[in-house]
Amino acid sequence: MTSRRMGLFALVLTGALALSACGGTTKENTDQSSSAAAPGAATGAANPNAPLKQGLKITFLPKQVNNPYFTVAQKGAEQAGTSFGAQVKATGPSDASASSQVTYINTAAQQHQDALVLSANDANAVAPALKSARKQGLKVVTFDSDAATDARDIFVNQASTQDIGAGQVKLIADALGGKGGEIAILSATPNATNQNAWIAVMKQELAKPEYANLKLVETAYGNDDDQTSFQKTQGLLQAHPNLKGIISPTTVGVAAAARYLDSSSYKGKVALTGLGTPNQMRKFVQDGTVKSFALWDPSKLGYLATYAAAALSSGQITGAQGEKFKAGDLGEYTVGANGELVLGPPTVFTKDNIGQFNF
């Protein structure tokens, strides 16, 4: 009896499978145009002269709470809020998993907030919730990590590829004090999108006449792993006895390279710069191993994103390309293609200013 029942079940299942196998919803016959939809889907016209509304309610949603980087960004957001009389409320999940932000997005909609400023843990997982929040009138600004283009009004990018690449070359040239010499790059993984784009810009810069005395001898990959980056630094210095400088455009790489230089006889003889966080690099900047390094300032990122949210909610901008608005102390910004804003050139950290930063 039971085995017959199971057999029947299997038969029905197979039948259903066979039936559904012909035709049906597949990747090929589904219209894919929705994923390439225009950002913002801006409604109404922008009025650049509209005053910033008072008493706006803005939710600030980081990737996860208690993360130093986002705590600094939150301070910037709160500072912006104070300057135009808005109430900025920070909330968020304790883990940075793909879907953990969705509850908080729904809550912001439920609380009838005016705008949501967030750094997305997963571009797609937050998209449905963001879309329904926008339908209810919330303005959505992403910063640091974007969501799907059609799920937000504006994305505040930390820095342009060009600014980062060119900035790194300038920092190493300055560190070498005009003498020049052989330099190497210590990157993340060989297929890291950001790093490769920056390295491409660095190479263009190095081809310019003013950097003729800099010679790139090798690009090594530390795989964004502390130990590997440490050993690759060692390898670079052994392979190129005349090496004078290293650029490491990754926070893991630059910290590992600094640690190696600090403990080796190359300290003070080989210059190092890169993208790093002040907390990781403080010791090495203060003891002279590293003269300067760069990164965007998360507090400015939070500040600009919050101003953008207010400008959207007040009708100054709609997220369309070419619109301009004033972001408090940071000055005027213009919305770029795909609703993107670029914060500006990265902040350079040196012995003189590193004490002001804690992230």
Binding site: L13, A16, L17, S20, A21, G23, G24, T25, T26, K27, E28, T30, D31, Q32, S34, S35, V65, N66, K89, T91, G92, P93, S94, D95, S97, A98, S99, V102, T103, Y104, N106, T107, A109, Q110, Q111, D122, A123, N124, A125, V126, A127, P128, A129, S132, A148
Partner: protein, 330 residues
């Protein structure tokens, strides 16, 4: 038997009172937002997967076993959906296929527990890692997100004209089926008998191994369904979907008054437990309570849920002395 029902009823009454309290406090403190249709919709979405998986897990725990691999089966199901979708399969084939895979995952757990006599705690901790690992093998750390709106709508819009999310509709239907199976069928009576005294059940002619195997298969299959719900709700198929969700589900089941030692519990209690945990969490977030406090409250509630029934039983046992057979310790 009568004692068991009375004890369970008492705990359920407490849960319902708590639920009403949370509802009232929530409604007043958010000036009507908490029980608004919009918020109930979001609340329903948030508890959807936990609620679904809690159903078969209740039966598994009542039978004196545990299945900790449920969230990993959810992740594997999500990863498979993404991978097969990329491979050009149609969703009409993918969905029954992943449910079948979920059932197989459950069957592997069940066979290891019943045929080899291994403890389910150890087996499913192993398969928790194994199935999550397989999910990562299938999809890596990429995400597949280009599912058609006609499917993702089930996870993002309510049933037309109401605030009811589709996953909760599915849950309601399954809850009735599972309630009938557990409380109004010979199958359910066997499950209770196994949980209360496995050896006795075997001597009474109950096919213990077979029933346990069915329970694990159900657990796997429903977890895979939860994986489908999760994938479409976030329109994102990822191998790490639902990471750590098993603890939330076990928490909800235990809060619902199901004894971790087996043999005791009701499905109604579990439904109330799921609603209470989800409702409290929703309310605290709506009231801007920091995440850290949220975790603390959930933890305390859980401890309370394990402690209170034990205390009540201890007190009741002293007032009316009677012989009491505890279920076998795992």
């Amino acid at each position: 038997m009568a004692d068991r029902v009375r004890g369970a009823l008492r705990w359920e009454t407490a849960l319902v009172v708590l639920l009403i309290a949370v509802g009232l406090v929530g409604q007043v403190s958010t000036s009507g937002e908490f029980l608004s249709g919009d918020n109930l919709f979001y609340l329903g979405l948030d508890i959807g997967e936990i609620a679904l998986i809690a159903l078969p897990l209740t039966l598994v725990i009542v039978a004196g076993e545990i299945d900790l691999s449920v969230a990993s089966v959810l992740g594997l199901s999500s990863a498979l959906i993404g991978w097969l979708w990329n491979a050009g399969w149609s969703l009409e084939v993918i969905l029954p296929f992943v449910i079948a895979v979920g059932a197989v995952c459950g069957a592997v757990n069940g066979l290891l527990v019943t045929r080899l006599g291994l403890p389910s705690l150890a087996v499913t901790i192993g398969s928790l890692a194994l199935y999550r690992g397989l999910a990562l093998v299938v999809l890596g750390d990429t995400a597949v997100a280009d599912f058609p709106d006609s499917y993702t709508e089930f996870g993002t819009t309510p049933v037309a004209g109401t605030w009811l999310p589709y996953p909760i509709l599915l849950f309601a239907v399954l809850a009735v089926l599972f309630a009938v199976a557990l409380h109004a069928s010979s199958f359910g009576r066997s499950v209770f008998a196994i949980g209360a005294n496995e050896q006795g059940a075997r001597f009474a002619g109950i096919r213990v191994k077979r029933i346990k195997l069915i329970l694990f298969v159900l657990s796997g299959a429903v977890s895979a369904v939860a994986g489908i719900v999760y994938t479409f709700r976030f329109s994102s198929a990822r191998a790490d979907n639902g990471l750590g969700l098993e603890l939330a589900v076990v928490a909800a089941v235990l809060l619902g008054g199901v004894s971790i030692f087996g043999g005791r519990g009701t499905l109604g209690g579990v439904v109330a437990g799921v609603l209470l945990l989800g409702g409290l969490r929703n309310l605290l977030i709506l009231r801007d309570v920091p995440t850290e406090i949220l975790t603390v409250v959930t933890g305390l509630l859980l401890l309370l849920s394990v402690l209170t029934p034990a205390l009540v039983r201890a007190v009741a046992g002293r007032l009316t002395p009677r012989t009491h057979t505890e279920g076998p310790q795992p």
